[in-house]
């Protein structure tokens, strides 16, 4: 696999572009907003438009045909279609699972950033995201950066960078604390990955890693709420419902492949008690999804986060469309991250594949 050219991440935002972007995020009709964004940031591989519900979106595409769509008002990646080699031909496959809700699309890949100290209220609720920068090398990589101010009084500056490469896509979050008090965050990048059939869904890479049953962090875009995710499924024909550990109890994953037919909601990580020791067994930084029916696998890589969240809807998937899906991604939810005044915290997730 060729290493794609990496773009410098934090490009200095040119003042002229930034003001146009901020002006556009006021109460401006979507069509005008789109054309302003197009003028300011549009380039080869990056187009601005609106989706079916009228929300402004950016569409990123690279030379080999892979494309990605991200909704601009909250940074939700609603579509990722890489080019893959499937059934003996090159085609594009939608990796992410989304559901058209009452007023907005849910699912996809989204960022969760909650305040750990005040009962997990979302730091991003009510914040206005605006496009602060864009970059591309015109062939194989395109990047768009969204920024917003979050937290009480707008003391946190959050940047969310979505990048599309030939064989992967990356989402990175940078949180800078401009206030005078430290802030405790729990954060996650949750992705809803689509699979063909429930029976052939598994992940590989967690063998030997401890896990515990844990609800996902609350978010606006997730298909399953934390309560729904934790509800135990009734045991099926073979009485297999009792295998999940109780919340808070840690067990170690023994299997090479974690089959995800049943409903689970787990966090794979080194237990917080272990992390206090001088040296502890660290958790793996990546895992691969396996879809037996399509034969395609995608690798999820976590950087900067401590835990990996993994959940499958089990029988509940039927409420959300025909395809089975997993809600998974890197997270820092067991132990909150403390960002002191003037400090910065970064985390990223990369979804990559070798299906070519």
């Amino acid at each position: 696999m060729a290493a794609a050219s990496f773009l410098p991440l934090h490009l200095p935002a040119s003042p002229r572009l930034a003001t146009i972007a901020r002006a556009a995020s006021g109460v401006v009709p979507a069509a005008v907003q789109t054309s302003q964004l197009e003028e300011a940031f549009g380039r080869k591989g990056l187009k601005f438009g609106t989706d079916a519900t009228g929300a402004p979106t950016a569409e990123l595409s690279v030379r080999n045909g892979s494309s990605l769509q991200v909704r601009l008002n909250d940074g939700l990646v609603t579509s990722y279609r890489p080019k893959v080699y499937w059934k003996d031909e090159l085609s594009y496959r939608e990796v992410l699972h989304t559901v058209a809700g009452a007023d907005a699309v849910k699912g996809g890949v989204g960022l969760v950033l909650n305040d750990a100290s005040s009962s997990s209220t979302s730091l991003l609720a009510g914040s206005e995201w605006s496009v602060t920068d864009a970059d591309s090398d015109s062939y194989d990589a395109v990047q768009v950066e969204l920024g917003c101010s979050a937290g009480k009084g707008g003391t946190l500056e959050v940047s969310y960078v979505v990048t599309l490469y030939e064989l992967s896509m990356a989402t990175a979050v940078i949180v800078k604390n401009n206030g005078s008090k430290p802030v405790e965050l729990t954060s996650a990048v949750l992705s809803h990955i689509r699979f063909d059939k429930r029976r052939g869904t598994a992940v590989e890479g967690f063998q030997g890693c401890p896990y515990c049953s844990h609800p996902p962090p609350a978010s606006g875009f997730a298909l399953l709420t934390p309560a729904e995710a934790m509800k135990r499924e009734e045991s099926g024909w073979f009485g297999g419902g009792g295998e999940e550990p109780r919340q808070g109890a840690w067990t170690v994953e023994e299997n090479l492949y974690t089959v995800l037919k049943k409903k689970v909601s787990r966090v794979y990580a080194a237990p917080p008690e272990e992390r206090k020791k001088r040296i502890y067994n660290t958790a793996p930084s990546k895992f691969t999804t396996i879809d037996q029916y399509s034969g395609l696998g995608f690798r999820l890589i976590k950087m900067g986060f401590e835990d990996m969240y993994l959940s499958s809807p089990g029988g509940m998937y039927e409420k959300f469309g025909d395809d089975y899906f997993l809600c998974t991604g890197p997270a820092s939810i067991l132990v909150p991250v403390v960002v002191g005044p003037g400090e910065e915290w970064r985390g990223a997730q990369v979804i990559e594949h070798d299906n070519l």
């Binding site: 290493a3 050219s5 990496f6 773009l7 410098p8 991440l9 934090h10 990589a141 990047q143 960078v161 990048t163 992967s168 990356a170 989402t171 990175a172 979050v173 940078i174 405790e184 063998q207 030997g208 890693c209 917080p272 992390r275 206090k276 001088r278 040296i279 502890y280 067994n281 660290t282 793996p284 930084s285 990546k286 890589i301 950087m303 900067g304 401590e306 820092s332 132990v335 909150p336 991250v337 403390v338 400090e343 910065e344 915290w345 970064r346 985390g347 990223a348 997730q349 990369v350 990559e352």
Partner: protein
């Protein structure tokens, strides 16, 4: 041939990096200078270095002058480095700790570290017999703790760099050894270089 390495752990004080790297690597040049990997200092030498900021909120602060740390049994710390770097160019490291006196292969397999790579399938390797030569690892630091190369290793590794060892033949110290080792997994597949 002790490699001098200054390391900043991915889990440590430096902020972890998001996906694309800030340093512009020349495209097409896959050999990159490796950034650093830290191991926490062993007991008795003061504050732990791998300060995951997250843990400090509820743990009592580790004051270097303060009292006695509980005595832990002697063990050897390992940092295993994967042959592929993370997408932002930093090394993909996992940490383990184990008692000395065992073969390196046993320590790696118990810790679910990828030792054999593509030869992991049943019957693709000799399972520790010293015949197939697929369990090669490169010892970056701490090589003095390993037993000297035996004849089997010398034969299999004749054309390889001197820092490479066969994990199934190398024993890590004695049961009461302490120390730290940095091991590069699957050195034939690595795309980075270690600074000397």
């Amino acid at each position: 041939m002790a490699a001098t390495l200054q390391f900043i752990s991915l889990l440590g004080t430096s902020s972890p990096h998001p996906a694309p790297s800030c340093s512009s690597t020349t495209t097409g040049n896959e050999k990159q200078q490796l950034r650093s990997v830290h191991l926490p200092r062993q007991q008795g030498r003061g504050r732990r270095l791998r300060v995951a900021r997250a843990v400090e909120t509820d743990a009592p602060s580790a004051d270097p002058e303060a009292a006695v740390e509980p005595v832990e049994p002697p063990s050897v710390d390992f940092a295993f480095v994967s042959p592929r770097l993370l997408p932002d160019g930093t090394p993909d490291v996992v940490y383990r700790t184990a008692c000395g006196g065992q073969k390196l292969r046993d320590i790696m397999l118990e810790g679910y570290i990828d030792l054999y790579g593509p030869y992991d399938k049943p019957l693709s390797n000799c399972s520790g017999g010293g015949e197939c030569g697929t369990c090669m690892v490169e010892v970056i630091e701490g090589g003095e703790m390993l037993s000297p190369k035996n004849e089997v290793e010398k034969e299999k590794l004749r054309r390889k760099p001197k820092s490479w060892r066969l994990a199934c033949q190398a024993t890590v110290g004695k049961p009461d050894s302490t120390g730290q080792m940095i091991i590069q997994q699957l050195p034939e597949w690595k795309i980075h270089e270690w600074e000397k």
